[in-house]
Amino acid sequence: MSIAVDALHRVFESGRRRARRTITAVDHISLRVEPGERLAYIGPNGAGKSTSIKMLTGILHPTSGTASVLGLTPWAQRRELTRRIGTLFGQRSQLWFELTPMQSYKMLAAMHDLDGDAFRRRIGELGGLLEADELFSQPVRSLSLGQRMRCELAACLLHDPAILFLDEPTIGLDLLAKQRFRELLVRLNEERGTTVFLTSHDVADIEYVARRVVVINHGSVIYDDDVEVMRRTLLSTKLIDVSLGHEVEFAARPGVVVTEHTPSVLKLAVDTRAHAVRDIVDGLLTDYPVTDLSIVDPPLEQVISEIYEAPAR
């Protein structure tokens, strides 16, 4: 077991005396993560994702509950744990801005007790894997965000960690940089068996990288399953895109929403709890001048929004 969490609970206190109030950030979460898993740990802002990661990496102490990461209690054995995990916070750099990444890596290597040969070999491997050799000798402050994130990833992979904790790692990256970063994560997982524990608000990160998704809201786990299973079981809507031969009127009905209607295009969202998709398609083909028709699932983003809005199960 890579990660085992039982009834993990964290409360933050703010204000003084009478104005003191408590905020439950993480509410008795339990979770198991197997070695080599790629898990997306998602939720709306303030759901408790980052607080969970900070407890699992030992930065924060929980109010109650237990957690074991690679057999260690994170907050009690933090330094030992940091030798075996890699952590990347998209909004906090672990590189020294005035230095080159290589200078930062040398400091990190000294902290991880990597000797000279092991360090050079590792830097060579990471430079190739991340296609970042030429970036390592430039000052961090002169790197673009995408370049810096590759160097950040190299920093957290320097000691060959068994688990990667990534907290919004693609935030602020452009589309190409995001995609490249996702491909790197998948390669790392497939080639090295590195467990990936990812939080992100970007649905494409989840779609591309994760095989399992855990949804957290108001501090509690409200969904935990494979991404594909989530997509299949939680979809109550199908989207039907129709190309029309000529302009027609379409009579809307309960459970069928017209999302777009032009002389040549008709787009419908069908509530599958009210209608069988087959019935709607049969009706369209019979009564309308259909030249083309496709049925698609709504985007994963919509599925996730529905989970966020649903009561905890």
Partner: protein, 260 residues
């Protein structure tokens, strides 16, 4: 964590100063100006007082100021404030993800950063004093000054980390910084020898750690061969390092980092 990590942190910080020397040059200019002005003031005060102030000659006071300023000017003047801000904002959390003591690495880096400044201060101060008032009053005690100044800087950096760690509780270290700085200026002996203060205050000041941050090397530089001052400095460094380690460790448990 091994000593190697601290050595690399100190050397890397020293390299940063050498290869980006603008702040370095400014602080050297300030050092030269302060030593020239305060040295001149103290020599004037001594000559107006039959050649002595609290037992120090004008020349001895010039060497005193050169050493006390060499022990304080190379330091980052906003260290407590910056460290306090990093704690209060949670930025220190990223450093907790390394297999090394946050406070030890920070102290090593800061000492490394001051070493090139210190080396230049010692050279410039020696040259300036020799040119204005002649050779040091006592060569044997002067030989101890470089080590004592290095210990003074170490003591100051360690103490600032111990003070800044209150940010884990009070969330704002600025007030701490203001008080700390004034203590070093006056009862640390940076601006004036402790013997100039009223007798009771001199006694109290010599019992506090601030004397190890400026007075100790300055006293040696002014011709007083008192090697035990080095032991006092080492004692305060050890005590303050223990305080900083304990305060940081208990402070880390209180760290509140909300959100990404």
């Amino acid at each position: 964590m091994t000593f190697r990590a601290l050595r690399v942190a100190a050397l890397t910080a020293a390299q940063r100063v050498v290869f980006a020397p603008s702040a370095f040059i400014v602080s050297m200019g300030i050092y030269g100006g302060v030593v020239a002005i305060l040295g001149s003031l103290w020599r004037t005060a001594a000559s107006a007082n039959h050649g002595f102030v609290a037992g120090y000659t004008g020349a001895a006071l010039t060497w005193y100021i050169a050493a006390s300023e060499a022990a304080t000017i190379p330091l980052n003047t906003r260290l407590i404030e910056m460290l306090g801000d990093d704690i209060a904002s949670g930025a220190v959390a990223a450093e907790m993800l390394r297999p090394a003591s946050v406070v030890a690495v920070r102290i090593a880096s800061e000492i490394g950063r001051t070493l090139p400044h210190l080396a230049l201060c010692l050279v410039a101060g020696t040259g300036l004093c020799w040119w204005t008032v002649g050779a040091p009053p006592n060569l044997a005690s002067a030989a101890l000054v470089p080590l004592s100044v290095a210990l003074a800087i170490t003591c100051n950096v360690v103490a600032q980390h111990a003070f800044a760690a209150v940010s884990f509780w009070i969330r704002d270290a600025r007030s701490t910084w203001f008080i700390y700085q004034k203590f070093v200026f006056v009862i640390g002996g940076m601006l004036l020898p402790l013997e100039v203060l009223p007798h009771a205050m001199t006694t109290v000041a010599k019992l506090l750690p601030f004397m190890a941050m400026a007075y100790a090397p300055a006293r040696l530089a002014s011709g007083h061969f008192e090697p035990w001052l080095l032991l006092v400095q080492v004692g305060w460094i050890t005590a303050l390092a223990c305080v900083a380690a304990v305060v940081f460790r208990s402070g880390e448990r209180r760290l509140q980092v909300v959100g990404g």
